[in-house]
């Protein structure tokens, strides 16, 4: 029964059924299943399956969006239970934002969903984030990784200044930097001195895990 319920949670998330996912997670909590099992065998299993289907050309962006919605809905219920039971995942912090002048946050939302599923504690700075806000967030949260996104070829150049400022303020040594977004590339990431380029949300998640060794 329990295994079946967790399987159903996983399926609901993969299929992007947000209301169903929420309902099933609630049922599982009511049945006093361990939150960590609900997380790993239900919610995370579901979103990782979505990632695999995406990788295998069986899912496309609309499917991933709905799946990420379902993941978010499930985590909304599960997060408090996890905290209450003192469950700690690796909890590496990831500060993420879209650079100043740029408002496109679709990619960021997907990356956040994937990073959360991989156990990162994500600090979302939002969109149109000025340089100073990135710097302040790095000082405040001391993340393992800071990620910057841009959609326009004009705004992506902000990333250069942010990385230079991190270096200038001596914040770069223990910090990994990732970049992503439509106009970016591996070559651009190399040029600005980023540690990794995420070409899509799944790729960003795996590269982030590699960077922090989880």
């Amino acid at each position: 029964m329990n295994v079946e319920l967790l399987q159903h949670i996983s399926t609901a998330i993969t299929e992007g059924e947000d209301e169903q996912a929420e309902k099933l997670v609630n049922e599982a909590l009511q049945a006093e299943l361990p939150p960590v099992d609900i997380l790993n065998q239900g919610v995370v299993a579901g979103i990782l399956k979505t990632g695999e289907l995406w990788k295998n050309n069986e899912y496309f962006l609309p499917d991933v969006i709905l799946s990420a919605d379902a993941f978010k809905a499930a985590m909304g219920l599960l997060d408090p239970a996890l905290r209450e039971s003192g469950i700690s995942r690796h909890g590496k912090k990831f500060v993420i934002g879209v650079v100043e002048g740029d408002m496109h946050d679709l990619g960021k939302s997907l990356v956040i969903a994937m990073l959360t599923s991989a156990g990162f504690e994500v600090v979302d700075l939002g969109i149109d984030v000025p340089l100073s806000k990135f710097i302040d967030a790095v000082k405040e949260h001391k993340p393992a990784i800071v990620g910057m996104g841009a959609y326009m070829t004009t705004t992506m150049l902000e990333m250069n200044d942010i990385i230079a400022e991190l270096e200038g303020q001596g914040l770069r040594n223990d910090l990994k930097v990732m970049v992503g977004g439509v106009p970016t590339s591996q070559e651009f990431a190399d040029e600005v001195g980023a540690d990794a380029w995420g070409k899509d949300a799944l790729d960003a998640m795996y590269k982030a895990m590699d960077l922090v060794g989880v």
């Binding site: 992007g16 990788k55 050309n57 496309f60 962006l61 609309p62 969006i65 709905l66 919605d69 100043e100 002048g101 740029d102 408002m103 496109h104 946050d105 679709l106 939302s109 939002g126 969109i127 149109d128 326009m152 070829t153 004009t154 705004t155 150049l157 106009p183 970016t184 590339s185 070559e187 651009f188 040029e191 070409k199 899509d200 790729d203």
Partner: protein
């Protein structure tokens, strides 16, 4: 030969074997599109607005708010590079939603962009609140004037107004995830959104464009409908019927050719490991239904890693009367920006070898990034025109290509008709009122 009709006729005749006289750039394009080939492979003007602004050193707060500056800058920069036609495209995606009251972000350095964190449309009732587009609002007058200037200054079959296609417009108004949820779960609302976009947002803009002298056609950018944002099935279900409705209404009520869905189904998968021939064929098939002309299309995708034998095979398979479809071979903008000139030449050499020998090949760049080194673009144009000379030599690697010498843009510009407008455009001026609202 300044008459574009004669240039086109010359190109068509030349391309079909009557090879007399010297082809104009426009003639070269039509020789490849409607014949077999011209004297050499043409290089189409790319989407270049951000890059052109950077090259011309004009501030965004003037460039994107002044139709005369916008059009003159793009024309001058495209001519400096030596493309075979002008493709003058404003920042086509936000005019309508901006005029309808969407929250915008304005910047000294970048084009205006919609703040999708505060969407214009959240739910059904918002459609009534937002209502119809008033063509005197926002930058609609700039877009209308740009359409007039494009048709006046870049005359010919590729001169047209621009608008944002319904799917991309809805995304700008609501945000992509909400639109996807509506398409999948609330078809009635989704249809209402399309109806609103077509009739209340886009049509008034088209009407204003059609009232300008010379504006006989308008094209609707639709990059949000590219693959994998939308699957070919979703494009067939939503985007193509919508484009047909707009085209019909434009023709009936405005006497205008309206082409929505430009770049819908363009194959933009980023991961080479996921490139799949079957899916690419589906995308290319669907893209034929909305593109300006019937071509095998590549536009914004990661084409540097494509197997171009597939695109050639597609063009041959779907060609008519014993001729393959013309191929729009688009060099990826990031590839052009990030590569060394010799890497660009190698890619062009490879593509001409695969797709150019039997003619009907046109080169293009999908949205040139702002910071692209000019030498890369000059080299690309030079390489296409040199390596693409017909008949294509058997031993194409034997032709050596060096980056061409070229004058700086500013030196070249001094003697050009756009000089005064551009030099004046560089002078600091007041920010448009919207910056302080």
């Amino acid at each position: 030969m300044a008459n574009s009709t004669l240039e086109i006729a010359h190109g068509v005749l030349y391309g079909n074997g009557l090879r007399f006289g010297k082809l104009s750039p426009t003639g070269r394009v039509f020789a490849a599109m409607l014949g077999k080939h011209g004297d050499t492979i043409p290089f189409m003007g790319p989407q270049i607005h951000d890059h052109a602004m950077t090259i011309a050193k004009v501030p965004a707060y003037k460039y994107y708010f002044d139709a005369d500056l916008l059009v003159n800058v793009q024309i001058a920069v495209e001519r400096w590079y030596g493309f075979d036609n002008y493709t003058i495209i404003p920042d086509a995606y936000v005019y309508e939603v901006e005029a309808l009251g969407a929250k915008m972000i304005y910047s000294d350095n970048a084009m205006p962009t919609v703040d999708t964190s505060q969407p214009l449309i959240n739910e059904r009732t918002d459609l009534d609140k937002v209502g119809s587009l008033d063509p005197s609002k926002g930058r609609i007058p700039v877009g209308v004037e740009a359409a007039r200037l494009i048709c006046e200054k870049a005359s010919g079959p590729f001169a047209m107004g621009f608008f944002c296609s319904p799917f991309s417009l809805i995304v700008q108004a609501m945000g992509y995830p909400k639109v996807i949820r509506a398409l999948r779960r609330d078809r009635v609302f989704a249809q209402e959104m399309f109806d609103w976009a077509e009739n209340e947002a886009i049509f008034p803009y088209l009407k204003a464009q059609s009232e300008q002298p010379g504006v006989k056609q308008s094209s609707g950018a639709d990059a949000w409908a590219a693959f994998p944002n939308l699957t070919p099935e979703l494009v067939e279900e939503w985007v193509i019927p919508s484009a047909k409705r707009l085209a019909q209404r434009g023709k009936q009520e405005l006497g205008m050719t309206v082409m929505a869905g430009l770049a819908a189904s363009d194959y933009c998968e980023e991961d080479p490991a996921k490139f799949e021939k079957k899916i690419m064929f589906e995308c290319w098939s669907t893209a034929r239904k909305t593109f300006i002309m019937d071509v095998a299309l590549s536009a914004m995708g990661r084409t540097q890693d494509w197997n171009m034998e597939w695109l050639q095979e597609f063009a041959v398979q779907y060609g008519k009367w014993g001729r393959k479809l013309p191929i729009y071979a688009s060099l990826n903008g990031r590839f052009i920006r990030d590569s060394q000139p010799e890497e660009i030449v190698a890619k062009i050499r490879e593509w001409i070898d695969v797709m150019g020998r039997d003619g009907r090949l046109l080169f293009f760049i999908g949205n040139v990034p702002a910071d692209t080194p000019p030498v890369n673009i000059h080299t690309a144009v030079h390489a296409v025109h040199t390596l693409g000379k017909y008949p294509i030599v058997a031993d194409i690697p034997s032709i050596k290509i060096k980056s061409p010498q070229f004058e700086s843009f500013d030196t070249w510009l001094k003697d050009q008709p756009e000089a005064d407008t551009i030099f004046k455009g560089r002078e600091p001026g007041p920010r448009p009122k919207v910056f302080t609202n």
